[in-house]
């Protein structure tokens, strides 16, 4: 069985925190990388508020507005496998295996205006709570209440995927780019006066080129080429100033990528990537199984002389 595509992907993680992971991918076809990106955005399950029961709302914001804001709050979903999708659950309406209840109740008692934050949502399940991080311990501002106003509501979080609604997507950013290849012609640089060199270095909006204060040499530091966004500003500058060939910008190799994934905080970024790869496998297995089950009437094509065996490709 031949597999013409080289099948030896290499991944190097450049940086990885709970919120963000950046890695380079080599020897993978763009179609696979793009499917991975689409799965990251749309098919990794997480929890989000789906139903809101407003008990009392005397704030200036209308009920639907608040419900919509609540829906977009990221909830910690590290244990998402333990929950069922609402439609798959055995219960008739809601139960602990498919839903998590949250409550919010705040009132501005004093003359002072108060802010209601996502951390004010009290969850009945410690595994599914509004995301908090040390920098913003109170979470996301939902609304403000002035003297005497109050808000009280019950919300129900359910499991879903981003294809259904973007609030279920655990990533706030999933992008990949080709590895840039920026090359300078030393001969032309040597020919340029300092003021021209300065103009050239500043022509790049992403500071890919660096130079000493006197603008005698122009360099591209070790990892700086990754900043390039293929805007061609530097190439245009060279053309306008009759320095054709000064710089060439192209993709380094067709199968090299840099992938950036930012988490909303609901699941650690590295785990999301891993889940996405597993989800891709699941999807392929499911569809392969279904294709296999189609039935054999279609494996016989046109002729009957047995020439069309299920030979290797």
């Amino acid at each position: 069985m031949i597999n013409p595509q080289k099948n030896d992907p290499k991944i190097r993680i450049l940086s990885c925190t709970d919120e963000k992971i950046v890695f380079t991918l080599r020897e993978v076809d763009v179609s696979v990388v793009n499917s991975l990106r689409r799965i990251l955005l749309g098919e990794i399950p997480s929890m989000a508020i789906e139903m809101v029961e407003i008990i009392n709302n005397t704030s200036v914001l209308p009920d639907p507005f608040i419900a919509h804001r609540l829906g977009l709050i990221p909830l910690t979903s590290n244990y998402i496998q333990d929950f069922n999708f609402p439609q798959d659950c055995n219960c008739t309406s809601t139960c602990d295996n498919c839903c998590v209840d949250l409550q919010l109740s705040r009132k501005a008692e004093t003359e002072q205006e108060i802010g209601v934050y996502s951390a004010d949502l009290i969850s009945t399940n410690p595994r599914v709570t509004p995301v908090r991080d040390p920098e913003t311990p109170r979470g996301i501002l939902l609304l403000k209440l002035s003297a005497g106003q109050q808000i009280s509501l019950k919300a129900t979080a359910k499991k879903g995927i981003g294809r259904h609604h973007a609030k279920f997507s655990p990533v706030s950013c999933a992008v990949f780019s080709y590895e840039p290849d920026v090359r300078l012609s030393q001969a032309i640089i040597d020919d340029m006066p300092a003021n021209e060199k300065e103009a050239f270095v500043t022509s790049c909006p992403k500071q890919v080129f660096s130079s000493d204060p006197m603008f005698s040499v122009i360099k591209i530091h070790d990892q700086d080429h990754w900043n390039c966004m293929f805007c061609q500003e530097c190439v245009n500058w060279a053309e306008e100033n009759h320095r054709e060939g000064l710089v060439i910008v192209k993709h380094r190799e067709p199968n090299n990528f840099k992938f950036t994934v930012e988490s909303t905080g609901s699941i650690p970024a590295a785990m999301i990537v891993k889940l996405a790869i597993q989800q891709m496998m699941k999807k392929l297995d499911l569809c392969r199984q279904a294709t296999d089950n189609i039935g054999n009437q279609l494996t016989v094509l046109g002729s009957l002389d047995g020439e069309y065996l299920e030979s290797d490709l």
Partner: protein, 130 residues
């Protein structure tokens, strides 16, 4: 007052969008993949994947095009509101489109497995480096 977040959209903007269930759950008794033969050209089948989109379609198409025995492979999403992905495969006659498709699934599966391995290795190296 009870609201689902979805009802809001429906109430605020009058839409005829199909509900999320149609996007996520295959109706009872419906096959995930259906197939019909294209009678106009030899050795050609049209596969319809229900509840799938570009994620699968493009993946399969690119893999199928790598096989010398596959003469034609293309996919189509008939309409943004129809959650189907239609894949048309024509072979040179020495294999059936279905065999080619199964081969594509197997190869993609092995690519994904290697991808997972590579990610685990990369993660391990990263943690050691730290």
């Amino acid at each position: 007052m009870y609201f689902t977040c979805f009802e809001f959209y429906a109430k605020l903007v009058v839409m005829n969008v199909p509900g999320p269930e149609e996007l996520l759950y295959l109706p009872e008794g419906m096959d995930k993949v259906t197939c019909e033969e294209d009678k106009r050209v030899p050795h050609c089948s049209i596969f319809t994947f229900h509840l799938e989109d570009h994620t699968l379609g493009n993946l399969l198409r690119m893999q199928l095009l790598r096989y010398p025995k596959v003469k034609f492979a293309a996919y189509q999403i008939p309409h943004p509101l129809v959650n189907d992905c239609i894949l048309r495969i024509q072979t040179d006659g020495t294999v059936t489109p279905k065999v080619a498709l199964l081969q594509a699934f197997d190869d993609l599966r092995s690519i994904t497995e290697n991808l997972e391995k590579a990610f685990d290795e990369g993660h391990e190296i990263f943690l050691k480096r730290k």
